[in-house]
Each structure stands twice: as structure tokens, then as C-alpha cells.
Subunit: 450 residues, 2 copies
């Protein structure tokens, strides 16, 4: 496999792209057929360890290595492996670039990346260049250039890449997708989604526990508060678009016959984080002086090549119940996530919502029917099992990744584009065509085992 | 009163505006104190006659005149008056400008305008110039200039003007407004609303009945299908913004300490109306050849001077249950209309929606408590009674109209502005300040009897 990869690297770039990737996958197959896939985990904080637990349970995978610079995260990962009665893994922990040593290891076939956002792209690119298949956690672009760099790294190396967008696998989302593929909603014209989650107790804590108990962040914070909150200090845009756009992309065939062409964004004032600090830490707490740029509610409208429109909401600083707020609306019907309702012309009582639960059950996606019990107990209501499983199965079968680098690039681009649009007073800004035209021919293969 | 009005007209324009209007109101008071207010109704189609029924029930009003050019609408109005055992009203019916004769009548103090959209502004302006107080049905601007003409006509004549936006008076909306005024939601940062109503059976009928039964419109259509549908043929924008923006305006103090500064709009493809024609009338029906420009789902984001954002949806061509989709979100809580839920920090169980019904009851607005039984049976769940009552009471009390010409102008401007934005690929477009700065000092007096 290594030789094969060298061959691909040396091939003139002009001949590379999708077909080269498929060749590379074929070449790689021999390895994976020989035994369990050897996984390295980069980033073993709470999220990394949660994904590790899924790997440790699989007979077709072996956790051989991991990397983190936080001694606590390293110790906990070792403990978890021991608890699972799995062989000890090699830990790379010396400095932020220790992961590059992991990438040199011959005992690693694929990596799972679960580090702070700013590391997703550089680590993914390094991993692809090292020939390690990559499953990267969601979120992570600061610029369109970074998205392009990811695309080019994948195209030039042919290394499999998947973005771990678990909400694409949410049971209700997949049931509704299953209905859509039976044409129950007609042509999809408008979708909504977003990330509406009160993260104040995630953005601030006491430096000892991950959730709440104080108003510290940055150096004095713990877990996500250590790095995530700083984005809310400096950036005004949709900082976390993939949970909303991922599922919507599957309905609208984005990057597969359709694509996002432009967006415009608008942000409300930023009040929630400051008020939380004052309320929980007092007006004299040093953090009460911090000025947060992130608007509490950021709304983004996206136009697609098919003409269909998408509205995304990012809302993480205010008191509210969790809701991704999906809406899928076509010429024949509509699904609303907020009130868990469906309306289908000619089927539902005229102008009356139906409880969507009935349809979630009657149209349960075949994948959930098949694997629902395997997924039980896995993170985020079982979604995490599915997203990891799809990555591993695609590797084993040499099949295209269901959520690939073009998804990564176009979804991640929403963040810098929304920042640009807001900075320009809601000017429309355009999406590059990261696939260089391949979107016109690519087929939607996500969960098409139905 | 007539002399007084002449005085105001002759006064230099520089001194006119709000204060002139109040003077004019004071001058007018003597008239209304002398007996019932004499009402003329312009437009006696279904809507006009529904409003007429409210007038006919009031002891403080007298329906003295009306105008329409449709013989059926005229005959029905006469019948309705007779049935109510009210004195016969003078009908002005000769031609589209017959209403101007009504405006010359000394037996009319105030007019209610319920004609097709394109007549709202010219008829309102003529009425104000004739010194007749105006209550105008919702919707109706094609250009910003038309909005300005309305504002200037009001400022120059001092004639009272009210826009009959009934949804401002919806019982749940007013209960939530009552809660807001007790600061239960904190600072309002983001609102949503819209007009989501499957109007296909309104836009098309058999030419004999108002709702459905065929796919005719225009000359061959009946009632609204006669004129309203043609807007969907030609115009792509939010054609009916006031039911959404009206209530939101009361929460965000628009034109009263705050105002809309710019918007950007996006439209989905137009499929619904054509598909309806084909389905109900067959692919060979002549209307199957009509190309409709109105996108089925039009989304508009609006920025306000306070920084708060508003999302409006216009969705009238697809199968769906009726929903105005309100959302009112502040630093302390959120109301969602779609799932009829409220969440208040520190009151609701953490991250759990509460059934809003409880709050609708416990925070029922004083106006509804007082007049709820009077409003029973009136159109649109009683809202119509309230909007007409507020107009009549403001006239009787010489108090400012609760929903006035600045509301009319700024709300109506959403339609041409959204058309412009869509035509320009979602470019942001700016709202003029129709109040010439008065918005900074005006107070929100809507329903402040609480």
C-alpha cells in the first residue's frame, strides 16, 4: 500500500481527483482485509474518549495509538483502554505536534481527530499526507483557503476522509429522509436547521469540571471552555453549522447534483454570555469586562443551485431548550422538528399537523432497523455509533465515504462566509465550487442501503 | 372642523408632523362627541362586509355609506344592512372612482378601506385629503414612494390613519406581549413571524365561489382570485408581511424607539401554484401555461436599529397547516408559536419547554379580559373586534392611533424591499426612516391600558 501511495503522489496532479481516490481505495483494500483496522485517536478529551469507547467495542478495529498534550486526557485514555481489557496503546504526548509522530507509525491505518476546532484542518491534512484514512470531528474552518487545502490534500493523496457529522444519522432525521426518498414530500424547496443549544455552562466552568460551576474560560477553564469560548469572544458568524447543514445536505443532494451557491447572514446583539458572567460570577469578576463579538442569534439564508433555500440558526448564548429546528418542505408536504409534526397533502387531515412519531416508527430507516440495537447506549442517542460505523464500513468495503471532503469543505465554509456577510452588513457572499464541477455528476450515496 | 383642517393645510409644511396631527385630533373631537361616528366602507367584498358587521353592531357607529363596483358586493351589503335593521346606506357604485363621491359626503366621518391591495394607498390618500379618518386593511405598497406618499398625506392633513392589522390583537400574542412588558423575556434580541397559509384555494376558484372548486383566476376568478393571484404571477417577494411584522413590531418597539434599518430576502423556486393547476385542472388547462414568479417560500431577514433581528417567512403556495410561526426570544426566555411553548430561565424546568397555554391564561391581556366576551363571534377569533374597536375608541378619545401611518409605511415597505433584494440576489436594501427621526422619541402606546 505504501508503494501504491507513493505512485499516486508522484503522478502528475492533472490526472488526480475522484478516480485517483478510488484507485487508492482499491489499493488499500488488501490491508484492511488482513485484519482489524488499526486506529489512532488524536485528541482524547471527552469527545475523543467517547469515540474511543465505540472503537474499543468493535471486533473489526484496534485502538493502537493516541495523542494528546493534556496529562489528564492521556491518563484517562490509558485507564479506559485498560478497563476495556484492550491492549495498551502507544501515547504521543510531548507537544502539540506529537500527533505527527503518531502519523509516522506503521501500526496506524486510520485516525480519528477530536481536537479543538483550529486543529481539525491542519491535522487532517497532515494525516492524509501520511496516508492515514481520516475521520474528523465536526467544525473547523477559518477561511475558504483552509477548505481548499483540505480538498486538495484529499485529491492529491487519495486518502479516504470523512467528516463525523453524527446528526445525519439521527433516527428521526433518517426516517424523514427515508420518506423523502419515497417521494412523500415532492420536490424539496426549503429547509431549515441549526444549532440552538444553551452552551453557557459549556463555555464557562470552574476550571475543574466540564460543565458549569463557574464563569472561567481560556487558561482558567476546563475542557471546551479552554478553547471554544475564545471563538465567541472574537468571531461573529455561524460558528457551528454542520449539525444543521449536514442533514439538510442529504435532503437537498448538496455536492451531489446540487450545491450551495451563496449565503447572507445576520447577527443579533451579543448579550447572553456577558449577562451569564455577571449573574453567576458577579459584575466584578474579571471576565465581566470581556467583550463578546458573537451575536446571540445568528441567522443565515443559503441559496442552492436548484433554487431551494435553507435557513440556518446558530443560538448558543441564551436560555432555551435544545433544538436543531429542522424543517423540510416540499411540493407535497412538510416536516417540522420543533413541534415534531408532519403534514402530507392528501394523507393528513386538511390543514392539520400529524404527530410525526407515527411516521418515525412506520418509516424507520433500514439502517436503524438493522443496527438500532447495536447503537443502543452509544453517544448522542446512538447517532455516534452510526457515524463511526459508516466510516469503518466504508474503509472495509473500499466504498466512497458517505460524508466526504466536499461536504467538509462546503459545510465548513459556512462559518467564514457568514462572518464575512455579517461584517459586510449582510452582503451575499458566494460559495466556491470546491468540487470543481464534480457536484454535477456525483450521486447521493448516503444511507442508500435502503 | 373643516375650517381647522384648512388651517392645518395652509400652515407651512415645516411645522407639521406629529404635533399638527394631535391638534387636528383635538379639533375633531367636538364632532365625534355629538353622536355616533358615521362610517363609510370602501370595498364591500367578503372582507368589507365582515368589517361592516362589526360596525353595524356598535351603538357608537353608524354605517352611512359604502362603495363598490361589483353589483353582487353592493347587493349583499344592502341586504346585510337591512338584515341588521339599520338605516339604508348610500351606495356609490358607478365606477372605480365612485369612492371619491363618498368622500365628498358630509354624512361620513371615517372610512374603512377593504379593497384589493393596489387601491389601499390611493384611496387612503384621497380619504385623508378629504378629511375622513381612515382605517385601512392590511397590505399595499408597490414602491417606497407610495409609502412616503401615505406618510406625507397624513402629516399634511392631520387626518387620523390606522392600519387594521388584526394579528396584533391575537389573544396569545397579546398575552405574551403582556408578559414581555413585565420583563419576563428580558431584552428581546430576535423575533420571527410570517404568513404561512396554503392559499391555493383562495388564489384559484371556479369563478362562482370564493374558495376552490376550480383553477380560475383574474377575469374568470371570483373574490380574491380576481385580483390577488395576479401578484403571484408577477411579483417575487414577501407579498403579505404585516401579519408577521405587526405583532413583532409591538415587541421590538418599531417606530417607537427602534426601527427596521435593512433587510435581505431569498425566494425558493415557484412550483406550488403551477402544480395545483395541473393537478386540479389538468395539464391542458390554459392556466397551466402561466408562469408564476412568486417563490413558494420567501424568507426575509431584517435588522433593527437596536441590533435585534427578525426573520419573516411568506409561504402561501404549498400544502401546509396555517401558522404565523412567531418566535420572541430575549435574554431571559423564549416563546415559540409553532410548538406553543415557552421557556423562562429560572422558572421553567431546565432546558424543558413549558406548554404556553398556561401562560396564555395566567397572563391574559387586560384588554382581552375586559372585552373578550364582546369580541366573541367576531372574525378571526375575535381579533377583528379588537382592531376595529381600537380605531373607533381612538377616534372618540382623540388619542393617537395605536397602529399608525408610520407602521403602515415601514411594514408595507417590506414588500417592495424584499422584491428588490431578491431581484438583486439577496443584496441588503435599506429602509427609509419614514418618521424623519420621530421614531427616536415616539412611545409604544399599543394596548398599554394594562
Amino acid at each position: 500500500m505504501l508503494d501504491r501511495r507513493k505512485f499516486i503522489r508522484n503522478t502528475s496532479l492533472a490526472t488526480l481527483g475522484t478516480w485517483a481516490s478510488i484507485d487508492a481505495l482499491n489499493a488499500r483494500s488488501s490491508l484492511f482485509n488482513n485484519g482489524p483496522i488499526r486506529i489512532g485517536i488524536i485528541g482524547t478529551g471527552l469527545r475523543g474518549r467517547s469515540l474511543a469507547s465505540l472503537i474499543l467495542k468493535r471486533a473489526d478495529c484496534k485502538l493502537t495509538a493516541f495523542s494528546d498534550i493534556d496529562p489528564l486526557a492521556v491518563a484517562e485514555m490509558h485507564k479506559q483502554i485498560e478497563k476495556a481489557s484492550a491492549p495498551k496503546a502507544v501515547a504521543y504526548t510531548d507537544d502539540p505536534y506529537a500527533y505527527r509522530k503518531l502519523l509516522e507509525s506503521k501500526d496506524v491505518d486510520a485516525v480519528i481527530i477530536a481536537t479543538p476546532w483550529e486543529w481539525h484542518a491542519p491535522m487532517s491534512i497532515d494525516s492524509m499526507k501520511a496516508g492515514k484514512a481520516v475521520a474528523c470531528e465536526v467544525n473547523g474552518a477559518f477561511s475558504l483557503q483552509e477548505c481548499w487545502d483540505m480538498v486538495r490534500a484529499h485529491e492529491q493523496t487519495g486518502t479516504p476522509f470523512m467528516i463525523l457529522e453524527n446528526v445525519c444519522y439521527r433516527r428521526d432525521v433518517m426516517a424523514v429522509l427515508h420518506m423523502h426518498r419515497q417521494n412523500m414530500f415532492g420536490e424539496i424547496l426549503h429547509c431549515e436547521g441549526g444549532y440552538q443549544h444553551d452552551l453557557r455552562h459549556v463555555k464557562f466552568n470552574d476550571g475543574k469540571q466540564a460543565y458549569g460551576g463557574g464563569v472561567e474560560f481560556g487558561e482558567k477553564g476546563f475542557s471546551e471552555a479552554k478553547w471554544r469560548t475564545n471563538h465567541s469572544v472574537h468571531r461573529n458568524g455561524d460558528l457551528y453549522p454542520t449539525h444543521g447543514i449536514g442533514p439538510v445536505a442529504m435532503f437537498l443532494d448538496l455536492e451531489r447534483g446540487n450545491r450551495m451557491t451563496y449565503l447572507t447572514s445576520m447577527a443579533s446583539p451579543a448579550r447572553g454570555l456577558h449577562e451569564y458572567i455577571v449573574k453567576k460570577g458577579g459584575a466584578d469578576h474579571p471576565n465581566a469586562k470581556v467583550r463578546f463579538e458573537l451575536g446571540d442569534v445568528v441567522t443565515t439564508m443559503i441559496k442552492t443551485a436548484s433554487g431551494a433555500t435553507i435557513t440556518l440558526t446558530h443560538d448558543t448564548n441564551l436560555p432555551r431548550p435544545y433544538s436543531l429546528g429542522f424543517r423540510v418542505q416540499g411540493t407535497k408536504g412538510i416536516w417540522m422538528d420543533v413541534n415534531k409534526s408532519i403534514y402530507l397533502e392528501g394523507i393528513s387531515t386538511y390543514e392539520q399537523w400529524e404527530d410525526a412519531k407515527k411516521y418515525y416508527e412506520s418509516h424507520d430507516h433500514p439502517l436503524w432497523k438493522k443496527y438500532g440495537s447495536d447503537a443502543q447506549g452509544a453517544g448522542h442517542g446512538g447517532m455516534d455509533w452510526f457515524v463511526v460505523n459508516d466510516f469503518i464500513e466504508a474503509l472495509k468495503n473500499n466504498s466512497p465515504m458517505p460524508l466526504d471532503v466536499y461536504d467538509y469543505a462546503s459545510w465548513s465554509a459556512i462559518t467564514p462566509l457568514s462572518e464575512q456577510s455579517i461584517a459586510l452588513g449582510s452582503e451575499p457572499v458566494v460559495f466556491p465550487d470546491f468540487s470543481d464541477g464534480k457536484w454535477m455528476k456525483r450521486k447521493n450515496v448516503f444511507a442508500n442501503q435502503e
